[in-house]
């Protein structure tokens, strides 16, 4: 077991770095969080990662809160605090400065090129998140079916995601997905 200070500084640096790369939202950096937390640092299992991500999705609030839970799992309350700040602070400051410039120059060619150029990379990253999460969560065909049905329901209807989460949790609670 490493000393707490080491873990906290790793959390601060990792999440601050990630927050600067989260062009496609927090969902774009989920694979990197997973790689760090599960594969490299062994803070949790694949299954725990999927569960913590799910809790962050189901709870109210912005979806970068998954960083709060990773920090919590790695180093308790202090870890939760450090990871949340790390994920927020740099991008909040950047957003403040850049978004003004960004909005003012909506028509500028460089602005259009950067936006259009980053978009496909961000989408590829969100696809990666979907893949990493599905691989961690879908341990049997029933769970895989839940993932597929939720994806289809949310793609082809305007149903609230909370209904999907609630229904799946209820089915799981009743033991229907084991």
């Amino acid at each position: 077991m490493k000393p707490l200070g080491d873990t906290l500084s790793v959390l601060a640096v990792q999440f601050a770095l990630l927050s600067l790369m989260a062009f496609g939202g927090a969902n774009a950096v989920v694979p990197e969080i997973h790689r760090q937390a599960v594969d490299i640092r062994h803070w949790m299992s694949d299954r725990e990662f999927a569960a913590l991500f799910a809790i962050a999705q189901a709870a109210p609030g912005p979806n970068f809160l998954v960083s709060t839970l990773i920090g919590w799992k790695a180093a308790g309350i202090a870890g939760a605090l450090v990871a949340t700040l790390g994920m927020c602070a740099p991008s909040c400051v950047l957003t403040y400065w850049i978004s003004k410039l960004w909005d003012r120059r909506r028509e500028a060619p460089w602005r259009v090129a950067i936006g259009a150029g980053l978009a496909p990379v961000a989408v590829g990253l969100v696809c990666s998140s979907a893949f990493v999460l599905a691989r961690a969560a879908d341990r049997n065909w029933r769970l895989a079916a839940v993932t597929g049905l939720c994806a289809a329901a949310l793609s082809f209807s305007r149903i609230s995601p909370l209904w999907c989460l609630a229904a799946a949790a209820a089915l799981g609670f009743a033991g229907a997905l084991a």
Binding site: P31, A51, L69, V121, G124
Partner: protein, 100 residues
């Protein structure tokens, strides 16, 4: 801003603590497994919703970068900073040279 983050952060941490406390019970495990599968489905839907307009408009330009990012980060699990450093400038440069 602080309130927007702090309150949900406290709520979500409290939920995770409950999960840690009662995670051993079969029902909790089942509910969490279902929740995790549904949350993965949510992200699949988000991904397809983001991908559709890009693929409809300029797939020749966008599809290679989407696939490259997916293969590198999703399948091969390469470190994100390196992948971004390689793909983002290339993608922006291509759009710059062939705008519209």
């Amino acid at each position: 801003m602080t309130g927007l983050v702090a309150a949900p952060a406290v709520i979500v941490t409290a939920l995770a603590m409950l999960y840690a406390r009662f995670g051993g019970i079969a029902q909790t495990q089942g509910a969490l497994a279902g929740l995790a599968a549904a949350a993965a489905g949510l992200v699949v839907a988000t991904a397809s919703r983001m991908a559709a307009p890009l693929l409809r408009r300029r797939w020749r330009l966008t599809a290679p970068f989407m696939l490259a990012a997916f293969a590198a980060v999703g399948v091969l699990q390469l470190p994100l900073p390196y992948v971004m450093a390689a793909l983002a400038p290339a993608s922006v440069a291509l759009v710059w040279r062939r705008p519209g």
